[in-house]
Amino acid sequence: MTSKRLPSGGLIDRGTTVRFNFDGRSFTGHPGDTLASALLANGVRLVGRSFKYHRPRGIMTAGPEEPNALVELREGARREPNTKATEIELHDGLVSASQNRWPSLAFDLMSINGFAGPAISAGFYYKTFMWPKSFWEKLYEPLIRRAAGLGRAASQPDPDHYEAMHAHCDVLVVGSGAAGLAAARAAGEAGARVIICERDFVPGGGLLLSPADAAWRGDMVNALEAMPNVEILTRTNVFGYYDHNLLGAVERVSDHKAEPDQHEVRQRYRTFRAKQVVLATGASERLIAFPGNDRPGAMMAGAALTYLRRFGVVPGRNAVVFTNNDSAYETALALAEAGSGKVTLVDVRSQSALAAAMTARGIDVRLASEVAYFDGKTALVRRRGGAGGDKFVADLLCPSGGWNPNVQLASQSGAKPRWEATLASHVPGESVQAERSAGATKGIFGIGAAAYDGARAGREAAAAAGFAKAQDFALPERGPAEQPIAPFWEVKASGKSFVDLQHDVTAEDIRLAHREGFSHVEHAKRYTTHGMATDQGKLGSLVGSAILAEARGEPVEAVGVPTHRPYTMPVAFGALAGHASGAHFQPVRRTALNDWHLRNGAVMQPTGAWLRPFFYPKPGETGWEPIFREARAVRSSVGICDVSTLGKIDVQGPDAAAFLDRLYINTFSTLAVGKCRYGVMLREDGIVFDDGTTSRLAEDHFLVTTTTGNAAPVLEHMEFHAQTVWPELDVQFCSVTDQWAQVAVAGPKSRETLAAAVDGLDLSNEVFPFMGVGEGKIAGVPVRLFRISFSGELAYEIAVPSGHAETVWEAILAAGKPFGIVPYGLEAMSLMRVEKGHAAGPELNGQTTAADLGMGRMMKKSGDVIGRVLAGRPGLADPGRPRLVGIRPVDTNKRLRGGAHIVREPGSGTSMGWVSSVTQSIEHACWIGLAMVENGEALKNQRVFAVSPLHDESVEVTITSPHHVDPENLRVRA
């Protein structure tokens, strides 16, 4: 295989050689190459297979619009399918493989699909695979799924890291071609803070193809780099334009290396909040539809110029350039300069002022002509619309159908694309956000003109952002005006003319879609899948629209193109996730006692945002054993539990009591200082929102506790009502959840334990009764004590400033040692909670009323209460609604399941309710549960069935009071 590299030229480092691998073969290239340029330099023509027909394909472009040259890059956990060879920077040791072929790229058995072409035209799926009925899922679909798809995902976790970075700037410039550089320079010199993003790894855009402008480019880049208020980000593609001038981008930090350096991220997700934006994203060359326009050797004219000028690679020996506009003439010239073979220029226009100059360089110019056929070796050139024609030996065919301004970002920003007849394309419409387009993005072509327009845009953007210092820098000469383009979309000749190479959509498919009524551009797109591939229709979207327009008998602008949506280029999942994935997906909240739990062998589990101790197993304990041991210790002696995660809200102000009266269904204004009370609050729709105990610390000072999960929502609920509904009430709120750690000390020996630990508070039942609140000291630390109980035993909760939590906890443990105090976790707490019959999360599930939970009588008789009125609606006041009850199995050996349903008879198709919470009981030596059962009150002591068809279980149960333990509530008052 001979090298296609020119002896000189291009922006590659010829002094350094790098080795890389494609499909198991070793090659060499140079720094500055892309994988595509290096493959071309090594004479590799066949790089991929198409999606549907598995046709052989070569490199078609030199950028993100590449439809064919998709490879699996790297191996193992770093394998990246569908990576465009045109976007891969060559590095030493690069490993890549072609994809979607079997058994090999050169011999792909799936290409048999090509012969079935007419039968698998657009939309064929919808008309077939229906007979017999069962075969779709059993046979057809698995086959289709296996054949579809492109590359293979890695099967292991990604070893690389990602991060996010957010920046503000005065002017964001997207693109670093002539327009972008000039815009950045103008804005920078005006004094604005400028960030310029370039997708490529070298700034310059189209300047990189113009040796004559190399010096200007160098000067501009140097000047920008020297400006402290300008930042140039290369390898940074802006993928989306969002509300309020926020743009998202991904910086490819280390994709140009075999793997990231130590501590280096692979990619960086960036957002920019810009006062003003200049979009200088250039233009993309569009395809012409003609038979064989997908064959290896077909390459866009602009891409061929890129390989010649930027990479010093001759993409073919004998070339036919096929154009409807002036831009491809430069490709023909560059090919002729490279001097490798015969160059033919086919222009659909009947006149060209440039023809003579071409002929002088030995280029065979065919005006008013078209390419009717290409097979990779020969091209058939004929008079437009004529028959016959001349055959040319050609291994390179370079179409240019004109240039589409890259309006995607402008369009995403809300500026509706506008049809520009002189370009036969769309340009950005009127700005909606603070943005302006410049240069080719706006349809202003030619380096000098683009630079001039860019400087204007940069100046205007800076001025709009408040920066107006004078600027002074040189711009390139503006060249002569181009000859007008002749809109030209398709050569009508027999054979497959593609409009979407990756998805194998042909011009005929578009017409078929129209014949079948899919004539709206969005319908045609969806029916044919045109423009939905990873190249996002950049090459052929407008061509498809033009063919559809012709079929409809309407102008192209009446058909339009599908809406531009993010992303301008596909974006890695990992990049958008940034650092917030895996263990860092969600911040973890830990209590002040977390370290003690870990040191003492707690099994920690997430509950909502928190990590909490579930139990503290001793060596040899398995299953429920530690839970039983902990719960028994509480029921028989004393235990200690970290309940710090409860929400705590400090409520102060002269109207605090009046406010709480409206918040809770029960009354707090009558609560004495030094006492606490259980309260229930509703949503305005009458459903229970939250519950907890509230303490009155002073006339105008309350401490509200909430359930763990509702700490933040309850505070917001309070603030909303205080600020907006009852602003006349003088009351303030402050979350103190994190400031106070809280521990429960529960069990018949809890008083004796605490008596030994607490200074300054008489804990006797007379002085400090059930629902008492007091202050004292433990180990010298001032604490608050609450005589409240969740377990149903004599119990206290002690609130301690977080920083002293462990001191106080240890002091209580020491005081409880004579009683065998044990720390108990969430599981034992939950066991005792179910035994006691307290409603908790599973019962307060957003579907239940206070009456459902047996707390209907708590509703005060009068006064404004959130939720009171709508709680009276018939559906919520219905006495037949499911009520909270207890259940116990008739056969005490049977287990109960949370989520089981209550039915009259096994096999019944009607549920009477559901089992909300279950546990093994230590008091009853069987499973017990709480359930919400229709007419539950009336069913007390009756037998029903708790069925769990998911477990194939049916257990006869007796309906009981929810209070499985101490229904008279004597223990808590002991």
């Binding site: 919808y126 695979f129 009925k133 949503r683 729709d685």
Partner: protein, 425 residues
């Protein structure tokens, strides 16, 4: 001259496909005609999305009412019918929902034959994963409710999850996988094909599908609907059914009604196509992330609402970042794949996250809406029930509870207990 209905003289068959492929595919007829509106119809359906077209199909095929027009402001099927994540399931816990969605799922199961159109209904399973014991109990309550009502559901433990979905990270520190609730009859269908299949089937039975015809008013006389004002003039109708997801409140306003509905954004995403990786639909509690893989190979996924009222069809980045974080946390092998495209649909969210298919206080006017993010799977069931409600002027048992009045009565159908806060549902 208006085209005449084809009466299914152009059925799709293997023979037909072969014949057309040998003759350049020149014989295929338009999937639906482009008729001019008549002066009046027995029934006008406002909204040429999946639900409206399905309603027309069932009005014609089940109730024999063929003098029907579907009027659509743009081209058919470009609202939520063409912007969803294609999931089909009936795994609801509250009987009012279960019986409706199960009926819909049964219709899905026979839809290809009914429509003579391959909508690529694919029952590869829907797996809802849970991350704690309490979430498991909630899933079990739902699964048991389904089973009691005769709907398939299975509870999978961690090992079973591992075997059906080996790509999942089971041990995320904050979202460990405890198991999952599987509905094997759930799956996906090709969303656009559903639109086209219903359109073609309705058209062949004589329904006029009138595109680019925006309704600007609902004409009433003496408490009774008489037709619709449109951008193509007044069209008379004895009955009008409205099925316009994303525009429900606007149409209600035209009829002088106020609804318990807010419109919100839901974003969806598709990755580049890859070889088969994820077989069924998998959903997670983390970030409400859900994902499936299309027959073409793209991973289709989504998550939470953007969280504020919007009609913009433009999503924003906070939800994207959170969702992709969840995606990579739950399926680490996604990290190096690429997201190709992102879009957003307008969800008409009700105050209990369940829909309505019902009569209104105006005689002859019927509303279908409030589908929240569950509209796609409901498509055939919604059309079937709406057709029944319109034809008989009373709901079927399947949709009897799906009324707007339920809010007034306090009989909400609130699966998740999120309450009347659409942004939090």
């Amino acid at each position: 001259m208006p085209a005449r209905p084809e009466r299914m003289t152009d059925r799709y068959s293997a023979w037909r496909l072969l014949k057309e492929s040998l003759s350049g595919n020149r014989g295929w007829k338009p999937a639906w005609r482009k008729p001019e509106p008549k002066a009046s119809y027995d029934v006008i359906i406002v909204g040429g999305g999946g639900h409206g077209l399905a309603t027309a199909h069932y009005l014609a095929s089940v109730h024999g009412i063929t003098n029907v027009a579907v009027v659509e402001k743009g081209p058919i099927g470009l609202g939520n019918g063409g912007r969803n994540t294609t999931i089909v399931r009936s795994n609801y816990g509250l009987p009012s929902n279960t019986r409706f969605y199960e009926h819909s799922l049964k219709l899905w199961e026979g839809l290809e034959q009914d429509l003579n159109y391959n909508v690529m209904m694919s029952q590869r399973g829907v797996l809802n994963l849970f991350h704690s014991d309490s979430q498991r109990d909630i899933a079990a309550r739902r699964g048991n409710s389904m089973r009691i009502q005769g709907v398939d559901a299975e509870l999978l433990d961690r090992e079973a999850v591992r075997s059906v979905a080996p790509f999942i990270e089971l041990d995320n520190p904050m979202f460990p996988i405890f198991g999952g609730l599987m509905q094997r009859r759930g799956g996906t269908a090709r969303h656009d094909a559903v639109i086209w299949g219903f359109a073609r089937a309705a058209d062949r039975r004589g329904v006029d599908i009138i595109e680019h015809c925006e309704v600007t008013g609902i004409r009433r006389e003496a408490g009774r609907v008489t037709g619709v004002e449109t951008t193509r003039g007044f069209i008379g109708a004895k009955k009008v059914g409205v099925a316009v997801a994303g525009n429900t409140s606007r149409l209600a306003t035209m009829a002088g009604l106020s609804l318990p509905v807010e419109s919100h954004l839901l974003q969806a995403f598709v990755s580049e196509a890859i070889k088969p990786m994820i077989d069924g639909v998998v959903t997670f509690g983390a970030g409400h992330f859900y994902i499936s893989q299309s027959d073409k190979g793209g991973l289709v996924f989504g998550g939470d609402l953007d969280g504020y009222n919007s009609y913009s069809q433009r999503g924003n980045l906070p939800v994207v970042e959170h969702l992709l974080g969840a995606a990579v946390s739950m399926i680490p092998a996604l990290s190096r794949l690429r997201v190709l495209r992102q879009w957003a649909g307008i969800m008409d969210m009700t105050m209990d996250s369940s829909p309505f298919i019902c009569k209104t206080p105006i005689d002859g006017l019927y509303f279908n809406g409030g589908w929240c993010y569950g509209g796609f799977k409901a498509t055939p069931g919604s059309g079937w029930c709406f057709a029944h409600t319109i034809a008989r002027n009373e709901p079927h048992a399947f949709n009897a509870d799906l009324t707007i009045d339920r809010f007034r009565d306090g009989r909400m159908i609130d699966e998740r207990g999120a309450g009347p806060n659409p942004w939090a549902q």
